[in-house]
């Protein structure tokens, strides 16, 4: 297992390096670069160029072998949609001690993903394990598991796991069998039972996703929703792409959500940026239903030393509603 992990990481780095180089300077067949790297640069009569690889080593290549790549954008798009952003591993930390059910996260998520059904992607649960234990508010997103049960059972590879940690849905391929929904223990997936009705938002929407915009692009995998297919929290690749945090993180007035990169070992809630490993260690971070072996990318900090009273949140609690349609 350990060996295997190392191996895949090595392969991953290797590929990232190759692609990074190719897209930075363009040109040269990948195999050629590989042979160059292995051969430690055969010095030739012509000029050489010094290039820095993604991991910081300087390499020298023959400049005659460097040429511009014409369809660089296309190349990147194709690479990332199912592969993910190179050398990233996105994680989220949700601090239950801070949540008071303000529901700003949900409102922002609903609005920005044009959720028109009855079921929000992001939910804040009123939790109480036992009558003797304290109640608390628990926001849930898609857990973006490293062992995603939904991906395992998908018959057509419509839902997929990317190397940057995201689990996304290709809703141009989904056949609507809902097996993934049955497989997900976190009940995070929702179904478009009817044609999504965007109402007045439709114009804004169409402006954003013009006809030239490829559907299921890196930025908007699974958006806009389509009838008869499955939807869920997408970890906002359109925000990550712009180096911004997801909508829920941005909208939360209490700094409950932290978003970041596991490889960089940092997470931020906008106001403060913390060391992930330290945060999880100091505050006893855990993951939901760890025993199922799904390996979620979302960590929780237990609701201890709470900053807010649980009861305050009850004012906003709506048992039978999670999508406010008046926004449209």
């Amino acid at each position: 297992m350990e060996d295997n992990n190392k191996n895949t990481r090595r392969k991953f780095l290797d590929k990232g390096l190759k692609i990074g180089l190719a897209s930075a300077i363009g040109s040269i067949g990948l195999t050629k670069i590989a042979s160059k790297l292995n051969a430690e640069t055969k010095s030739s009569s012509e000029e050489t160029m010094e290039l820095m690889t993604t991991d910081g080593t300087i390499i020298e290549v023959d400049s005659s072998e460097v040429e511009e790549v014409k369809d660089i954008a296309d190349h990147e798009t194709k690479y990332r949609l199912r592969e993910g952003m190179p050398n990233r591993k996105f994680v989220m930390v949700i601090d239950l001690a801070k949540c008071k059910n303000a529901l700003k996260c949900q409102a922002s998520c609903n609005k920005n993903h044009y959720i028109t059904g009855e079921h929000a992607w992001l939910k804040v649960y009123k939790m109480q394990e036992d009558e003797d234990t304290a109640p608390y508010w628990m926001p849930t997103t898609c857990m973006h598991c490293d062992h995603p049960a939904c991906v395992t059972v998908c018959p057509v590879d419509a839902t997929f796991k990317r190397r940057d940690g995201l689990v996304l849905i290709d809703n141009d391929r989904c056949i609507g069998c809902r097996f993934c929904m049955a497989a997900c223990p976190y009940s995070t997936r929702v179904f478009n039972w009817e044609e999504p009705d965007y109402g007045e938002a439709a114009e804004v929407f169409l402006e954003m996703h013009g006809a030239d915009q490829p559907h299921n692009s890196i930025e908007y995998a699974g958006v806009p929703s389509k009838i008869g297919t499955v939807d869920k929290c997408d970890f906002c690749p359109h925000k990550i792409h712009k180096n911004e945090v997801p909508h829920c993180v941005e909208a939360c007035p209490n700094g409950v959500f932290y978003f970041g990169d596991k490889y960089e070992d940092t997470v931020t809630n906008g106001a403060e940026t913390l060391r992930l490993s330290k945060l999880l260690e100091e505050k006893d971070g855990y993951r939901l239903m760890e025993d199922l072996g799904t390996k979620p990318s979302v960590y929780y900090l237990p609701p201890v030393d709470r900053l807010v009273d649980f009861k305050e949140g009850l004012n906003f609690y709506k048992n039978f509603n999670s999508v406010d349609k008046s926004d449209y």
């Binding site: 009855e118 939910k123 018959p155 057509v156 590879d157 056949i175 049955a182 497989a183 009940s187 297919t229």
Partner: protein, 438 residues
Amino acid sequence: MEVSKKLVNDLAPQKFGKKGVIWTTFLVIVSIVGIIAYIDQVRKGQIVTNMNDYALWGIYISNFVFFVATSFVGAVTVAVLRLTKNTWRTPVVRIAEIISVAAIIMAGLTIMIDMGRPDRLMNLFIHGRMQSPIIWDVIIIPTYIAICLLLLYFPLLPDLAILKKHFSKINPKLSKWYGRLSLNWTGNARQTKIQLNSIQIIAILTIPAGFMLQTIDAWLFATLFRVGWDSTNMGGYFITGAAVAGIGALVAVVYVVRKAYKLENYITEFHFDKLGKFLALACLLYLYFNINEYLIPEFTSKKEEVTHMNLLITGQFAPLFWFVQVGGLIVPIVALFFKKGRKPLPMFFIGLLVVVGSWWKRFLIVTPTLLHPFLPVQGVPESWHHYFPSVHEWLITIATLAMALLIITALVRYLPVIPIKRTADEQELFETEKKSKS
């Protein structure tokens, strides 16, 4: 080896009387209504069903599981009884094969009704990936359809030749069709040898294929985390359950066909007695797996399991649960223990009870589990806390059942429901034995 005129006259397919025509028309109308409802569902989306993000599967899936289960009857009666050399099977095997064919074809169709995007059906073949249990189903169902058709067809060959001759004057057109389908059957030694070998191979193949089909169906649920499905008991549970549903359906259909075609001399009380014992055995086996499935979680009393069990035993599904367990299992077992219970008419009602119980049993396997996921059901409309099928779902589901009955009816109309050649051979054997004794 001439087959007697009387035998052919008795067993050859007959034109339907008034009742038969009314029955067929009724089935056609119900099927058409269902097709209209389905077209409406395709146009509007599955919003016309009462399914929701929690009860994400409904009676389309449980009905599918029911059809898959019923199709098992071919494997159990034909193959198992053949390999165990139970000669009493002769007059009922053809009907079992017909039920199998109808059920498995309808299973293949009903699963598509549940798809959110039936227009993307081809994606299963273009993008199919082996790790998904749905792809296992995509592979095994067509395989089983093929096996069931062959299992029906091979033993038919001599009968088709007989029918060709029989109808040559009465109905030349029909006779021509029988002739074509009989593949120039003459009954010579070489043909017979090939035929018997083929039947033997197909009969043996049916057993592993049938087991695989039922097991894959069980694994559609057992491979998921949900409480009530996450059980290692599921494979055997589904196989025995399928035997119950299949034999139950067989008993009911045999009774109706016997009555309609007046076959009392061929399908006798002796056969019902044997079928009754066979059904009782299947029910007992299924009861055993039921006890495993429900008693162990009740004993260990894990929190989630208790929620599930309470929903079944005392909660909103209690009336259905007890009807299925007592009406669909205990009552038939007790009734079948008595000789009087194994007479044709009581057997017919027991068969119906078992089939109805089996249908609702699948509903109880699918729905209650979905209504109590690991995280609480919150933030969705109140109606999403329950599930009961909508009018569209009922119309479509009833239509699929009608279509299955329509396939059975059509096959019963045009094929000899009791193997003619085999019956003749057995009668001859019986006569010679009698003569040699006297």
